[in-house]
């Protein structure tokens, strides 16, 4: 196992990505595990996670550290959140928010086994409905396929600490299905320019998707 530079608990082995399991012997999505020197690693697939895809495409920074507090908008079933749960370790915390009861049910079960995940059934378009349930975070991670994705991201910036990192996954077709994805990506890049740290398009793992990392400045 070789640690991927700068990223805590993310490893690479034989061309695949892994995280060090914060809750050993626990898997939730039928992911493969590897045992090395008594430590258990879970396979982190870029086909299933946009964050993994960005790391595979050699993004320079994601900002997530051990013990980070993460606000995850669009947590869905909890695949990526479970791996961020490994990255931040048992001292970290992830508030996973999604609006669909069917997926929050799955997320709830994952959270029951992983104490550092907290599931919320809420609409990310309305931070006023959950501001009192969460804390200020070091990381704002968003993966929501809606037309006003960028607006939602900015609305939830209030929960990100100064100097914290924002990670935004963009699906070009959700914003405008008729326009060329690279035009949309360029526009997003321009909107975020002042705070942009790095970004990557996610092919070949996801078509017409990109991930942006920003840092909240003074």
């Amino acid at each position: 196992m070789k640690q991927v530079q700068k990223f805590p608990n993310i490893f690479e082995y034989k061309g695949k990505l892994y995280t060090l399991n914060s809750y050993p012997k626990l898997t939730h999505f039928e992911e493969k595990t590897v045992l090395q020197r008594g430590l258990e690693y879970r396979e982190f697939r870029p086909e299933r996670s946009k964050l993994a895809a960005a790391v595979m495409n050699k993004i320079s920074q994601i900002g997530i550290r051990q013990a980070s507090k993460v606000l995850y908008l669009g947590a869905s079933h909890g695949y990526t959140p479970s791996f961020i749960s490994d990255m931040v370790g048992r001292q970290g915390i992830i508030f996973g928010i999604d609006v669909a009861p069917q997926v929050v049910t799955r997320l709830y079960f994952v959270a029951s086994r992983r104490n550092n995940i907290i599931p919320l059934l809420a609409d990310c378009n309305k931070p006023e409905t959950y501001h009192h349930r969460i804390t200020q975070c070091d990381i704002l991670y968003q993966d929501i396929a809606q037309r006003n994705q960028l607006e939602i991201f900015l609305k939830n910036m209030q929960f990100l600490k100064q100097g914290g990192f924002g990670i935004l996954a963009i699906k070009a077709k959700s914003i405008d299905v008729t326009r060329q994805p690279r035009h949309i990506f360029r526009e997003i890049k321009q909107s975020l320019e002042k705070t942009l740290v790095d970004y990557r398009e996610l092919h070949p793992y996801e078509k017409d998707h990109a991930l942006y990392v920003i840092k909240k400045q003074e």
Binding site: K69, I93, F95, P101, V104, T105, Y108, A111, S112, N115, I118, P119, L120, L121, E128, T129, Y130, H131, H132, R133, I134, T135, Q136, Q158, F159, K161, V177, T178
Partner: protein, 316 residues
Amino acid sequence: MRVLYSDVLGSYVFEGTKLIAKADFSLDQSIGFSREIAEGRTVAPEKELMQKYSAHKASQEEASQIREVMADKEHLQDLRRVNMKITADDLRHSVTADHIIIHTINNAEEVTRMANGLAKRLREWYGLHFPEINEKIEDNYGFVKAISRKDRKTLMDELKIAESIGSTMAKTELEPILELAETILDLYEQKRRLELYLEKAMKLNCRNLTVVAGSLIAAKLIRDAGSLQKLAKTTSTTIQMLGAEKALFRHLKNRAMKPPKHGHIVNHPIVLGASRPMKGKAARALADKLSIAAKVDYFKGEFIGDRLRQELEERF
């Protein structure tokens, strides 16, 4: 400058970054107050504290600062505990009539697909014994019913077929085939019952929409829109297109390709009965009335479905 802020664990009065007063919530209060705060209301403990300490409610910036100060390990553990309870409660109350309707219509379609798929297999298998009947009965349900009830000789007499080039089959060879036929009949029967159930559920949940569109089409519209609320909020032109997404996006990406005139509503008697040049107008008019019906149903208004239907039938 005293500031009041509440999270799900309690209400707090801060002076700068110093906590000068607080009111902890019990677990029951946490759950109840959480909803009220989410709706923007001020709860009793907040009013008391605001009065007692002459504090004003925290602004967004002040709230952010307070949240940061409060985030110690114990607080976070309590936050998790309460959130799990609130989310569990939210999930328990999250099932609506829409969800049930969507599952029902999806299952009806699934069962139909299964029955038709198995019927194909049945035709081939039974065709070893009596291939002539395949062409004679085109309807799957009719075919399955016929061969499960009557033997080859009877069918040949009824359908006026003199000879069969199929091979004779022993009783033991026919048994599994007939068992398959029974299974398929079961599925068709299940579908029939599902549609009755759907009809009842639709009439209860959205009377107007059901009268104007019929329960099947209305259920598909709700499913494709996501919920009755979304259907009520969306435009009539979208309703017109629901179900024709493939053709719609093909047109949007390539203006040379013509846009579709109708999605699920193509199967509605008013659109089916319209002449070629009038089909588009009929689809548009129907979609308009459906839009009105959905809105009335969502906001639980009066029953105007029959009037809407009548207006359409008069025009077309």
